[in-house]
């Protein structure tokens, strides 16, 4: 028996209140019919006896107290799923919007998911080769990890995400079918969403992508569902179909703002900067859905993008995110302005799962040595730079000057790389050693002698040979130039 309730008691923001409702369950889905024949979706947000508060996904515009009929669905919000969702485009609440019709579901899953039993989790240890030197060497992405990109407006985070999605290779997976991408757009502009679609298309992976789009002008309640729909699809693909799923979610800050708007319209007590007090738990219920499970083949890896308002990493959204995720890739405005792509701030960036996913058997035995030495040396670069900004570069000691030089090369040849340039892990590590070749051996205090002999020395020789060749070439050029001048 389906009961329809006619009329409302109250409309407040995106919330509606109903009286005399029977047999309603918490977080149940409701359908709201308007006089003009359109329908909207909603969800039960609070129950008090027979009074029910419902959040309307599409907003309450045009609703009046007496022009609506409400029907209870009898179950919580579910997403219809089938292998055919690959290649499809959905709106933020999981309805197809690509004109190809509804999904014929093999399974329906509650979009809130359930928490993975910590005992059942498989500790992620296999790295994903992104082809980007700074990430692979210094903050290795691991399968089953959640590694957000902290960015600011105007920086090249979208390009970075696209490049990672295009180049990501999983060390031991055979067959392309196993890898797919779930893309969730929350409050981004139409052209950003289009950029992602086009980029997936160009790299020929579009048939392995599921897209959930909630654009900047779409309702905010729907935005609070978007990441949950996307992750439900990802969990289905990973744990039911055994695929390795990369979930790109942009922009988490818009999601949190939607949550704040919704929370304040419910009249809840605000926490920091007006965000609800449960923001941490809410974000955790999204991010913690990354991972791997014992006995299942697939994995869910998350790459959320979040813009830091005013580039402020202590803003509640990046702050709480950093406490939940396993590290972060932070972009740097100065590098971006200097034209370095990808503008990754290596100090502020970190991958927590890296330590157990690198080294012999995973990447290469010298990986941890080279990365920790690069970090240590780079921190000396910033010391030298801050000194140089006071006393001038000329006045620096020879040792400090060497670090300034090292810092320049590090930014220009290690961090910086082309949008279509994909480097293997060996290339990146060798490049790291070559850079360290700019420094004398005595300065490398983080590395064992054995590793130094094996990797540092040959790299230094390579570097010297290259510099020598460069020099002689320059000399040649110069001579030619002089000859040319003479001729003129």
């Amino acid at each position: 028996m389906i009961i329809k309730y006619v009329g409302l008691k109250e409309i407040r923001g995106s919330l509606i209140v109903l009286d005399h409702v029977e047999d309603v369950s918490f977080e149940e889905v409701v359908t709201i019919e308007l006089d003009n024949g359109t329908t909207r979706q909603g969800r039960v947000a609070q129950i008090e006896g027979d009074r029910v508060t419902i959040q309307v996904f599409e907003g309450t515009r045009g609703m009046a107290l007496d022009n609506t009929k409400i029907r209870l669905a009898g179950h919580p919000m579910e997403l219809p799923l089938a292998p055919e969702i690959l290649g499809r485009v959905f709106n933020g609440s999981g309805k197809p919007i690509d004109g190809l019709g509804d999904i014929f579901p093999e399974k329906r899953m509650d979009i809130n998911g359930s928490s993975i039993n910590p005992v059942s989790r498989l500790y992620p240890q296999n790295y994903i080769n992104t082809g980007i030197s700074s990430i692979d060497t210094l903050m290795t992405l691991i399968r089953g990890q959640k590694l957000p990109i902290f960015t600011g407006s105007g920086m090249k985070h979208n390009e970075l995400a696209v490049q990672i999605a295009r180049q990501a290779k999983i060390a031991d997976v055979d067959g392309e079918d196993d890898f797919c991408i779930v893309f969730a757009a929350m409050g981004v502009k139409q052209d950003v969403a289009e950029y992602f679609r086009r980029s997936f298309d160009e790299s020929g992976v579009l048939s392995h992508v599921v897209m959930f789009l909630n654009l900047a002008n779409d309702p905010i309640i729907e935005r609070t569902l978007t990441p949950r729909c996307a992750l439900t699809a990802a969990e289905y693909l990973a744990f039911e179909l055994g695929k390795h799923v990369l979930v790109i979610m942009t922009d988490m800050t818009s999601y949190c703002e939607a949550l704040r708007e919704f929370s304040s319209s419910k009249g809840e007590i605000p926490g920091r900067k007006g965000y609800p007090g449960y923001l941490y738990s809410d974000l955790a219920s999204i991010y913690e859905r990354a991972g791997m499970i014992h006995g299942k083949k697939g994995s869910v890896t998350q790459l959320p993008i979040l813009s830091m308002p005013n580039d402020d990493v202590t803003h509640p959204v990046p702050d709480l995110t950093g406490y939940i995720t396993e590290g972060q890739i932070q972009l740097d405005r100065d590098l971006d302005n200097a034209g370095v792509y990808p503008p990754i701030d290596v100090f502020a960036s970190l991958s927590r799962l890296m330590k157990d996913g690198i080294g012999e058997g995973f990447t290469r035995e010298d990986h941890s040595a080279v990365s920790s030495q690069l970090f240590a040396s780079c921190s000396k670069v910033s010391e030298a730079r801050s000194l140089a900004s006071v006393i001038g570069e000329e006045e620096l000691s020879p040792a400090d000057k060497r670090y300034i030089e090292f810092g320049k090369v590090f930014e220009n040849s290690f961090i910086k790389q082309g949008f279509y340039e994909s480097r293997t892990i060996e290339q990146s590590l060798d490049l790291g050693w070559e850079l360290l070749g700019y420094l004398p051996r005595a300065e490398l205090d983080r590395v064992d002698d054995e590793i130094l002999d094996k990797y540092y020395e040959p790299a230094k020789k390579r570097l010297e040979a290259r510099l020598e060749a460069q020099k002689s070439k320059e000399q040649e050029n110069e001579e030619e130039y002089e000859e040319l001048e003479d001729e003129i």
């Binding site: 977080e27 039993n117 005992v119 738990s281 702050d319 927590r352 970090f375």
Partner: protein, 587 residues
């Protein structure tokens, strides 16, 4: 029939109307699925319950059933080598019943009730037993003996007792007859309300350090057995790493690791690592003396709030057996946030930053459950609490950090800039402090000699001086400093890199004995002392640095194995020789 039915639902908060059947903090079952909850507010019209499981799908009108008892933990053999959620449900058993994802309303007994334990009785008929007396023991794991205690509030003469042999938890071990003639059946397990501290004879003052093998802690900022310490630090500063290191290496008998609102992958790492790690003292896996409580950030928030209490109750149980227990709580900020979240749902008046006004008193109650104590049974046991704090925005002035500071006597401030330079453990030596240092001095003097204290003081002084000098260096560079001050910088660097910085992944460096710590200090300071003599003679400091002695000293943490401390003598000799050569050259 009692008319106790669900009236309202808002997230984990459920209300019941017009009932008088529940008492404050009573454990209840909510709804058809029997979700576990706890009564947190009672009024004549509305009774409020916080649910430890997701309330999605719950309907008004579903029954609410009281259990008549407070939220309790089940205490008995089988706790060790186990992993529980925040309300002591065994996660391995839950996996068997509900699969990889935790299902709602799963009910499994906390401890294995079928398992047979090898019991050896320690008392006989006619003995008079008091609360807290040990009446039997059994090997719980290969290294920990479980001691069965007479429950609190029960005493009397043994009138009947089983024979040594194999029994399961619910068997009756013995019967006590109290003075008034009532008979008490005592089983191999007991229940205890998690929010009530277990009583002890008296609390004692602790004069023994908890040895952690981490140089910066043992030497500069030691914690006493029975002490409480806070590790505050922003994300990425290495809180969890430090907690893991302490859990692995500290010399407590039993480790209780509470993962409170933290990452799921981290818990699986702890599980894997601890199982693989061999305890150096016993040669058995670490898990033999470890209990994990995992309530990850996406598990229900009310259970997160309870997880801290569950952890400390288990700790107290083992303390009462006469063990030294260390509780790692990672992180107490998440627990405080759970308090805030629930308080918000109850529409309580918020205090600072939305936290409830009772936050300081709750924190105080928790940390006060630490301590060295004489147990009811007359033994000595201790609980040390090491609580991680995650300050929002890395701002140490926020309420949780500030209030934690008031109730802990040891503060290991993690520094993001140290972590950026990959200096781990990133414990900042100027912001951290330990009030136990004074209390523990006699122990250090007795076990390692007065020299240890002198070295420590000297080292702290050098670091302090460096801190002052760095202000100048940052402005005008190190080159303009006079040689004696350059030496301070060199020595400080050797201390920072060679001593304070410790590599958790290096076989020799992960754990360092106090003896080696002392020798390391000795060598570094000896080099400083000798170099000073040279500089005082007007020989440039570069002559000393060119010998490569500082580099050598920095690497001794890797070069000298823990079991070959005699190698330090050759370092002293080398310093003498090389520096003498310099002096000889100029004379």
């Amino acid at each position: 029939m009692r008319n106790d039915i669900v009236f309202g639902i808002n997230g984990p908060v459920v209300t019941v109307r017009d009932t008088k059947s529940f008492s404050m903090m009573e454990m209840v079952f909510v709804g058809e699925k029997r979700l576990i909850g706890e009564v947190i507010h009672v009024e004549d019209e509305i009774t409020t319950i916080q649910c430890y499981e997701e309330t999605t799908g719950l309907k008004p009108g579903e029954p609410v059933e009281g259990t008549g008892s407070l939220m309790t933990a089940m205490l008995g053999p089988g706790i060790l080598d186990n992993i529980f959620d925040g309300i002591e449900r065994p996660l391995k058993e839950l996996e068997k019943t509900s699969g990889a994802f935790i299902a709602k309303g799963s009910h499994v007994s906390s401890l294995d009730e079928e398992k047979m334990w090898d019991i050896i009785f320690k008392v006989q008929i006619g003995d008079t037993l008091e609360s807290g007396n040990i009446f039997a023991v059994c090997p719980e794991t290969a290294i920990i003996e479980h001691r069965f205690l007479v429950p609190y509030g029960v005493s009397g003469k043994v009138v009947s007792i089983k024979e040594n042999g194999k029994y399961c938890l619910k068997d009756i071990a013995l019967v006590l007859e109290a003075e008034d003639g009532t008979q008490h059946e005592i089983k191999f397990y007991q229940q205890w309300p998690i929010r009530t501290p277990r009583p002890v004879q008296k609390k004692l003052e602790s004069r023994v350090p908890l040895i952690t093998g981490q140089r910066v802690i043992d030497t500069l900022f030691p914690i006493a057995k029975g002490g409480a310490a806070a590790i505050p630090g922003g994300f990425g500063a290495g809180k969890t790493m430090t907690q893991h290191q302490l859990a692995k290496w500290c010399d407590a008998d039993i480790i209780i690791y509470v993962g409170c609102g933290e990452r799921g992958n981290e818990m699986s790492q702890v599980l894997e690592e601890f199982a693989a790690l061999i305890d150096p003292k016993s040669g058995r896996p670490m898990t033999d003396r470890t209990v994990l409580i995992a309530n990850t950030s996406n598990m229900p928030v009310a259970a997160r709030e309870a997880s801290i209490y569950t952890g400390i109750t288990l700790a107290e149980y083992y303390r009462d057996m006469g063990y030294h227990v260390a509780v790692m709580a990672d992180s107490t900020s998440r627990w405080a946030e759970a308090l805030r979240e629930i308080s918000g749902r109850l529409e309580e008046m918020p205090a600072e930053e939305g936290f409830p006004a009772y936050l300081p008193s709750r924190l105080a109650e928790f940390y006060e459950r630490a301590g060295l104590a004489e147990t009811l049974g007359g033994q000595e046991g201790s609980i040390s609490i090491i609580g991680a704090v995650s300050p929002a925005g890395n701002d140490f002035s926020e309420p949780v950090t500030q209030n934690t500071k008031r109730f802990t006597r040891c503060f290991w401030a993690l520094d993001k800039s140290l972590a950026y330079a990959r200096h781990y453990p990133a414990i900042n030596w100027t912001d951290s402090y330990s009030e136990y240092q004074q209390d523990l001095q006699p122990w250090y003097a007795a076990h390692l000699g007065m020299d240890f204290l002198r070295y420590r003081q000297r080292m702290a002084a050098v670091l302090q001086e460096e801190n002052k000098l760095m202000e100048i260096v940052r402005l005008i560079g190190a080159d303009v400093l006079p040689d004696d001050q350059k030496l301070v910088l060199e020595t400080a660097k050797a201390i920072r890199v060679g001593f304070l910085q410790q590599n958790a992944f290096h076989q020799e460096d992960s754990y360092v004995s106090l003896e080696k710590q002392m020798k390391m200090m000795q060598v570094i300071l000896y080099l400083d002392h000798k170099a000073k003599q040279i500089v005082e003679r007007g020989i440039p400091i570069s002559a000393v640095t060119e010998t490569g002695l500082f580099e050598k000293v920095v690497k001794m943490k890797y070069d000298i194995p823990n079991n070959r401390l005699e190698m330090f003598d050759s370092y002293i000799k080398e310093i003498d020789e090389k520096l003498e050569a310099i002096q000889g050259g100029t004379v």
